[in-house]
């Protein structure tokens, strides 16, 4: 480097550019940008303050959601989720800015959209209801069922669930087993809990699976639900079970924040994923890209459930299931959960033309061709590709703006999600920013520059309802 000839050589200045970089890190960022602080106030005081601001917190989130989306209850006539208990919601819900139409937006370049701030707000990252605190937030139906069956409290005193019920999955979700396709939904309309799982499942599953199920239903301490003063539940809590979010191995739309990012303001929201079809998935988790469900099951309680913080979890009480025994059993139970039946799909993941409607077939054509969907959502591999992809949405918006405590940053690579049974799991995307399947079509139309017609978009939705 030419700079070296100009400077006296000294022990410290070996290379100027590395020196400059290393001095920048000699005064590092504050530790609590990474590590969780211990509370500075007594529990009762924290609780009182949280309760006092709760209604404003919820109002702020309601205002944001109403600004971004049309949240009305408008089902598609005659289309139900796989348990037959809840209709699928219709139409695009993401609101457009003044004077824009979806066509006019699609005609703009990403640079134009970014420059004019024209990207629909509903396409941007959606914040946790209380970003600064974060943590698991359960919907009302789950809170009530667990309170009734187990007398365990999943209600937080600082926040409530923020999405309207009609935009979430049916509850309790049906359970389909790969080991018994002939039985259909084995849930009997009940939510599996530690209090009823044995009588529901004995005779249907193996001893290994039964033990795995037991552990998946056993509550363990978690960041907000534990026995220390650093909690957001009124009484000291036994904690949270895996299936408290993954109700009946599906999702009840409970949300959290990604464990894989710091500081707190940068942590994107995480919508609970369904556990159906785990037997085929090879990467798990928002950024960690864990390679097996065994890894996931083994690890999750180590870090206080998705907080990426083994330090805080240690204080609150970790459960360390052993890999060769307990974890294997938990994985083996998770691996027998099937997608819901899709009678119109043949074994290769394509529509059977003798069973599918013209609209569905038209949608499949778009899916495989102009829509480019099948490049990542490969029908033959359960509409996944075992890859993480960066959609580079930041081409369309300037990162750095803060909304309800979340700094909206580029999302980075996120894994391809399966589309089998997709009508059963609103809201969509990793953070649940898209309320309906119609929204996802508009989203990808823009992101991939597809220039789909209205008819093509509509047929894509019809096709996805059949998966």
């Amino acid at each position: 480097m030419t700079c070296l000839r100009r400077l006296p050589v000294c022990g410290v200045a070996l290379c100027l550019s590395t020196l400059l970089v290393s001095t920048a890190s000699a005064d590092p960022l504050p530790p609590d940008a990474t590590y969780r602080n211990l509370p500075t106030l007594p529990f009762d005081t924290v609780k009182a303050n949280d309760e006092a601001m709760k209604s404003q917190v919820m109002q702020r989130q309601r205002d944001l959601l109403n600004e971004r989306y049309d949240l009305a209850d408008r089902p598609i006539p005659g289309v139900m989720m796989s348990g037959g208990r809840k209709p699928v919601q219709a139409g695009v819900r993401v609101r457009l800015g003044n004077g824009l139409t979806w066509q006019s937006l699609a005609a703009m370049s990403p640079e134009q959209i970014r420059g004019q701030g024209a990207l629909p707000q509903g396409f941007l990252p959606v914040p946790h209801v209380k970003q600064a605190t974060g943590g698991q937030v359960f919907p009302e139906n789950e809170i009530k069922k667990i309170a009734f069956q187990e007398q365990r409290d999943l209600r937080r005193f600082d926040v409530e669930f923020d999405l309207p019920d009609h935009l979430t999955p049916e509850f309790p979700p049906p359970i389909f087993l790969t080991t018994h396709p002939e039985l259909g939904d084995v849930s009997k309309g009940q939510l599996l809990t530690i209090r009823n799982y044995y009588s529901l499942m004995v005779g249907v599953i193996t001893p290994v699976q039964m033990e795995g199920l037991r552990m998946l239903l056993t509550p363990f301490p978690q960041e907000e639900f534990n026995q220390t003063e650093d909690r957001k539940v009124a009484e000291q809590s036994r904690g949270v079970a895996c299936l408290d979010c993954h109700a009946n191995f599906h999702t009840n739309a409970a949300f959290h924040q990604t464990p894989d990012v710091r500081p707190q303001a940068a942590r994107f929201r995480l919508d609970t994923t369904s556990l159906r079809g785990m037997f085929n998935q090879q990467i798990h988790g928002s950024k960690r890209s864990l390679r097996s469900v065994e890894d996931f099951s083994e690890f999750e309680q180590r870090t206080a459930y998705f907080n990426g913080d083994q330090v805080s979890a240690q204080r609150k009480g970790v459960n360390l299931p052993n890999r060769d025994d307990q974890v294997a059993m938990m994985a083996q139970m998770q691996n027998i959960i099937d997608f819901p039946p899709a009678p119109k799909l043949d074994p290769t993941g394509h529509l059977d033309p003798t069973k599918a409607s013209p609209a569905e077939l038209a949608g499949e054509q778009i899916f495989m061709g102009k829509g480019k969907c099948a490049q990542c959502h490969i029908p033959q591999t359960a509409f996944m590709d075992m890859q993480m992809h960066d959609l580079k949405l930041e081409r369309f918006y300037e990162p750095g703006r803060t909304v309800n405590g979340l700094v909206m940053l580029p999302d980075g690579p996120i894994k391809t999600f399966t589309l089998r049974g997709i009508k059963d799991s609103p809201p969509y995307m990793h953070d649940g920013r898209l309320p309906t399947l119609a929204d996802t079509v508009e989203f990808f139309n823009l992101v991939l520059g597809l220039k789909l017609t209205e008819e093509e978009k509509s047929s894509l939705v019809t096709y996805m309802l059949a998966l």
Partner: protein, 200 residues
């Protein structure tokens, strides 16, 4: 889901003006009260005066001030000594943008209980020394690499205070300034790419 009824908004606004100190406007601060300073007035009655700083606020006051003045010092040097026009333009923008930001931060801090030191710390002294001793293309590379590192740190620092701080005036400052800092970072990265061939 119903649309927000207008009367609710009025009641909420009235509630906010009653509970917040006079002069504190939007956005309201919804932090985790577990991180509040134990001597925050009113916190034990659940009516905290949030403009009383917690430890994060105090540390941010120092770090942001040091960073801001360090930026202006380095930028003034670069405006004088830069070899390429891209770097010179960047430096001039830093002088202007960070000058403004420093003023805004000072205005907040003058009313905030945090005291800050404006003596440059060792890191910024060393950086300025090295820049003084370099010139030509090497200066440009040194300066711009340092700018990438500094702005990365600033972005993380501002994100940190947005959710860990207590004083809404400081968090508002950070929220308002962060998009500009990220633009600076993006630009610094692209200039670094031009000068060194690194990925942008």
């Amino acid at each position: 889901m119903h649309a927000v009824k207008p009367w609710r908004a009025i009641v909420a606004a009235a509630f906010l003006t009653l509970t917040l100190p006079a002069g504190a406007a939007e956005p309201v601060r919804f932090g985790n009260p577990a991180g509040a300073a134990p001597d925050t007035p009113g916190v034990y009655e659940a009516r905290p005066n949030l403009e009383h700083p917690n430890t994060a606020d105090a540390l941010f006051a120092r770090e942001a001030s040091l960073g801001g003045t360090g930026e202006v010092d380095a930028a003034k040097l670069a405006a004088r000594k830069a070899h390429s026009s891209a770097v010179k333009d960047f430096a001039n923008m830093m002088v202007s943008d960070h000058g403004k930001a420093n003023q805004q931060l000072s205005a907040v801090l003058s009313t905030n209980a945090s005291k800050t030191s404006t003596t440059p710390d060792m890191d910024h002294k060393v950086m300025l020394d090295q820049l003084e001793k370099t010139s030509g293309e090497a200066f440009d590379v040194l300066y711009i690499r340092g700018q990438v590192a500094e702005h990365q740190k600033t972005v993380q620092l501002y994100e940190w205070i947005i959710d860990n701080g207590q004083d809404p005036r400081l968090t508002r400052y950070a929220m308002n300034t962060l998009p500009t800092v990220m633009r600076h970072l993006e630009l610094a990265r692209s200039i670094q790419a031009q000068l060194t061939g690194s990925a942008p």
